[in-house]
Amino acid sequence: MRIESVTAAAFGPLRDAKLTLAPGLTVVHGDNESAKSSWHAAIYAGLCGRRRGPGAGTKEDREFAALRRPWDAAQWQVSCRVLLDDGRRVELSHDLEGRVDCSAIELPRGRDVSAAIQYDGAPDGSRWLGLNRKTFAATACVNQGDMLSVLRAASDLQEDLQRAAATAGTDATAAKAIDALEDFHGQQVGLDRRNATKPLRRAKLALEAALGAQEVARSAHADYLRLVVQAEQAKAAADAAERQRRGGERTLADAETLLAAVRDARAAASAADQAQARARELARRAAEQRRRLEQAARLAALFPDGEPGDARSDDDLARQVTQALAAWQAAPAVQALSGPTADQLRDQLAAVPQPPDGDIEPDPSIRALLSRCHEARAVLAATKTRRPDQPVDISAELPAQLLAARHSAADARALAQAELAEAESAQADAESRWGQTSLEARRRPATSPRSTRATVAVAAGVLLGIAGLVCMVLGRPLAGAAALVLAAAAAAVGALLRGPAARHHPGASDTVDAGRALDAARERVSAGHRGLLEAERAYAAADARVEAAERQAAEARAEVARWERDHDEAASAATAAEQRLRQALERRGCVAADVETAYECYERQCADRRSQAEESRRRLPLQRRVEERAEAERIAAQATRTRRAAVQGVLAAARAAGLTDPGLDAGEAPTEDVDALSQDLQAWLDVRATSARKAEERRAAWQQLQTLLDGATLGELRHAVAADSGAADEARAGAESLARAAERARERRDSAARLAGVELPPDDVAAEELVRAAVADRRGSYAQAVATAAESASRAAEAEGAARERARCLPDVAAAEEAVERARQELRRVEQLGATLQLTREYLTAAQQRVHEEIAPMLVETLDRWLPAVTAGRYSRSAVEPTTLEVKVAPEQGTWRKAHQLSVGTAEQVYLLLRVALAQHLSDKGTVCPLLLDDVTVQADPRRTAAILATCLALAEAGRQVVLFAQEPTVAQWAEEHLSEPRHKLVRLDVVPVS
């Protein structure tokens, strides 16, 4: 695409001005105030137009409008004519003020092609380049500032490349966008770490807190429900306990009612029984009174004259007669006494002696003492007769020969011991010598038979000697002696045999001599043993004899000591027995110097008392006779007095009864007479008794009448009987009423029993006991039920209180769930934001990498193509780092140099080449994007300016339209020198006049 011309109808200071551009390089030169920048902007605005949309627009829009709006015109219009690559020519007209009258008209047909290039509400000619008005400005337009930034730092070149690669140079670089995403993520999302404070962590913590609160709320709610159930169960239990208590109370009341009913029934029954008994009693009493009245009336008829006379006037006489008769009949007969009188007998008794005081026969104890005294004396005498001979001093009188013999035996034993010791020493030496010689002898031939026989003989002798010694020790001296003799003989034979043998063997003479010496030594030892044995035996015999003599003397001394002890004991016993006998006799009054004399005295006294005792035995029968006689005399006197009194009584009674007095003497009256008189008195009594009985019967009848009347008159008795009959009738009626009341009480009791569920026994007492027990039992049950009900009620109240307490502070579950949901939403938002940022960053990073990888080779190609020409061959190679778009150049054979290491002029050339490359890359393939350069040479020296211009010309020569605005004369001069129309063109601008 190529811009042919631009017409500024009203644009900044321009009015109806037109700028025609060459297809190659167009250098627009003008001094200050010649509207170079306005034409640069007009070209841009004529091609791209302005954004047309609601709102205030972007900052860039506003700045553009402020700078390029006509100073003195209401309209703001610009147009341009472009030639498209397909040959079409289009006129773009822009009403920049109203942004309504904007069009793209294809010439010459006049077809409106605005729709094809519409962008942000207005036609945009850069769309034919694959750009828009924003990216075109960033890509195709290079101004003084861009160049200056490259001059300031090579890093700006890199960033400019990055920006262009990212957004065609309009906005941030992709790297900055990625950094912004990361920063935003860090601020608005953050990390999910424990100590993080950014929204993600906060949202999670908030969710955890909300979940915790929700859990607490739900737990509290569940706890509340549990407490409610517990309260309900406790209340049900309390209600059940209360019902049980009320039931217990009711059953207790029933039982107590029953008990009262039982008691009432029992009392009513008792009252009825008592009333009935009283009614019966009153009825009985009324009947009795009626019978009494009838009897009284009958008796009263017997005494019309009143009370009968008293029949007891002679009762005293009758009693006297009766008593007299009884006394007479009971009077004893008087017996006559014979023999000596009691006084006589007492006199006889006084003449008889009293019994003696003391032993009448020798006492057995005295006799026993006497006997023991005699025995002790006999024992003492016998002891004296057994007195042993006086013992002798054995030690002094021991026979001298016994002691001498023992001394001699001791000496002989010592000698034998010494000899034996010497023999044993000699034997030891001999054995030693024989041992040495026998070692030598073993190397020589065996011993001769003769020597062997000698040895056998010696051995036999030794054995016989030993046997003889054994026999001697065992107490067989004869056999021992025989054995010893034989032993000596055998030893002698052995010695004889050994001697010639030694001579016949001079080579073994030492051994033989040593053997002989050994044998002799052994014999000497054997003899020593024998001698010692004999000496020992002799010494033992002598010592035994001495010991026997000493033992005999000791036994004699012991015998004398035993006798003396026995004698002393017998003497002491005799003295003691005599002393005890003497004391016993002295206690009986027999004292004498001699105990025998005293005993004789005692026997005599016993004989005297024995004769006195014989005489005194008569006193007992005589005394018994005295007593019997005195009693008989007393009884006789008593009988006489009794009979006389009875006779006197009979006589007095007879006289009182008026019987004839027989004139009897009371003391002398014969019994027959008295009996006759008593019979008369008995007859008198019989007559009197008959008349008295009749009077008594009448009197009894009277008394009965009085008793029946009991002080009342017969009439009064009749009234009383009538009153009693009335009372009896009333009592019967009352009893019947009480009986009915008792029946009703029983019915009430039975009803109460049914109500109380108690089966009553028929017996009232048992029933009351049963009911009382039931009441007590039910009282216990009721008390337990009361306690249980109270406890259950307390538990129920506690459970209800707990539930109410929980309910009072019960969290709002729904609110907690809502808080959780809000926290979840916030977390979802943050997580979604984080995921979006992360995903965006990944896409951006990937896009950046991919685009950079595409751009880098293209940049290298462009640089490599142009670099040698624009740098006059100094640099021919280039490299671009794909990740950072870092640019390096190098000569053909030189080292790589980074952009900041290049000269400023070379850097500017490189920058222009890169911009061209980017513009070509960013625009559609197949089209060539124009390049608008505004004052890019203003800061350059002539050499750099020339280099820039050379580059532009080279680009234009290659087919790209380049429009360069400049104010330097050198540029105009260079243009005049290097540019030729129609391919290239120099346009000189005049200063815009101030209107």
């Binding site: 957004t167 941030a172 966008a177 912004a180 995403l181 109410r804 965006t840």
Partner: protein
């Protein structure tokens, strides 16, 4: 016989979409709705009030709710109140139904099978209860028949199978039944709860939730006056008893130039409304405008609550042109748009976030 039917009041339910104060106010509105129901019962001189379950939410009810229910139903004495517990207010050892000392006019069905209560001579009400939050068997299965004459009505909480597709998402088929099972069981009509969308079937009636529980509820929900004649035929009339309104409106932001204009449009949209309004922002907005929900704070002050959300909101980027760019931005747009693993919302968020980042709008990287 005139009956007043309601169900699914869901006292003490949470409102997750609402701020704390609004949620509390919504719960108060549920209670006020029950008060309206009781008042309606008095005004219409009904013979009984019937609740077909989900009167409250077992996991969340408060003691105060228990007291409120007791007083509410006691206030309509002597009008009898029949309560058939549902899956949210299931009857059990810890249920509110057991805790309340109901007035004498309240009858709670407690068994998991239909049990008869004679409302009047010749008219029997069969009721049943859910005994757990789930797994309640169908009440009309197992050959249930009324086996008695007269008019027989049923009151329970269950799912009519043909109605399930028309209910809200996630509705579980508790105690399911088929409409034909009702006459087969000898019932004249079934008065049901569980479906929040109202339904007047030939053999059954769902009153729907009487007070809004969420947004987007449609249909004439409320309490239903049911007149039953001697033949068992029912005549139904629906009455609004809700005390508050919940609206769902969409606001087109196309052409807005700045955030104040967004507020103005939303304000204009909710101005004629009352109660709680959920605003869904849609349309195409300029790419330079940052649409933030928090920017709507204070809008609709006359409402109980304003709940904004982003709907089909598009940003006026020229994605076709951006795709054609040979820059990193163009590559980014192409990659994101061509990635089949991204869902639409994620793609939108990533595109806007990336473009804003490339535009240098580093403070606007969170896309609503």
């Amino acid at each position: 016989m005139r009956l007043l039917l309601f169900s699914d009041l869901h006292l003490d339910t949470p409102f997750a979409w609402a701020p704390t104060a609004v949620a509390a106010e919504r719960r108060r509105a549920l209670r006020a709705t029950l008060t309206n129901i009781c008042q309606l019962a008095a005004d219409e001189a009904v013979d009984a009030i019937l609740c077909a379950g989900d009167l409250y939410e077992h996991d969340r009810f408060t003691p105060d709710t228990a007291a409120f229910l007791r007083e509410s139903f006691a206030s309509v004495q002597p009008v009898p109140v029949f309560l058939a517990p549902g899956n949210h207010d299931w009857y059990g050892g810890t249920s509110l139904y057991r805790q309340v000392q109901w007035s004498a006019n309240v009858h709670v069905f407690t068994e998991a099978m239909l049990e008869p209560v004679e409302l009047t001579d010749g008219l029997t009400l069969w009721g049943a209860a859910h005994r757990g939050p789930a797994n309640t068997d169908a009440f009309l299965d197992s050959g249930f028949t009324v086996e008695r004459g007269g008019v027989n009505l049923a009151l329970f909480h269950g799912s009519e199978r043909s109605g399930l597709p028309f209910q809200e998402v996630g509705k579980l088929p508790h105690a399911p039944f088929g409409a034909r099972q009702i006459p087969e069981a000898g019932l004249s009509h079934a008065l049901c709860g569980h479906f929040h969308a109202p339904k007047d079937g030939e053999w059954h009636t769902y009153p729907g939730n009487p007070d809004p529980l969420t947004f987007g509820e449609s249909g004439e929900r409320g309490a239903v006056l049911v007149d039953v004649d001697d033949s068992g035929a029912v005549r139904r009339s629906r009455h609004r008893v809700a005390v508050s309104a919940v609206h769902d409106v969409s606001v087109d932001l196309s052409g807005v130039c700045h955030s104040d204009e967004i507020r103005a449009r939303v304000e204009a949209a909710v101005r004629p409304l009352t109660g709680v309004v959920r605003v869904t922002l849609a349309g195409e907005v300029a790419k330079d405008i940052d649409v933030r929900l928090c920017g709507l704070d204070g809008v609709g002050a006359h409402l109980d609550a304003l709940v904004p959300r982003v709907g089909r909101l598009r940003v006026a980027y020229d994605f076709d042109f951006l795709r054609s760019e040979r820059s990193v931005r163009g590559q980014f747009v192409r990659d994101v748009e061509d990635d089949p693993s991204l869902d639409g919302d994620t793609r939108r968020r990533v595109l806007l976030t990336g473009l804003r980042a490339l535009d240098g709008r580093t403070d606007e990287l969170e896309v609503a």
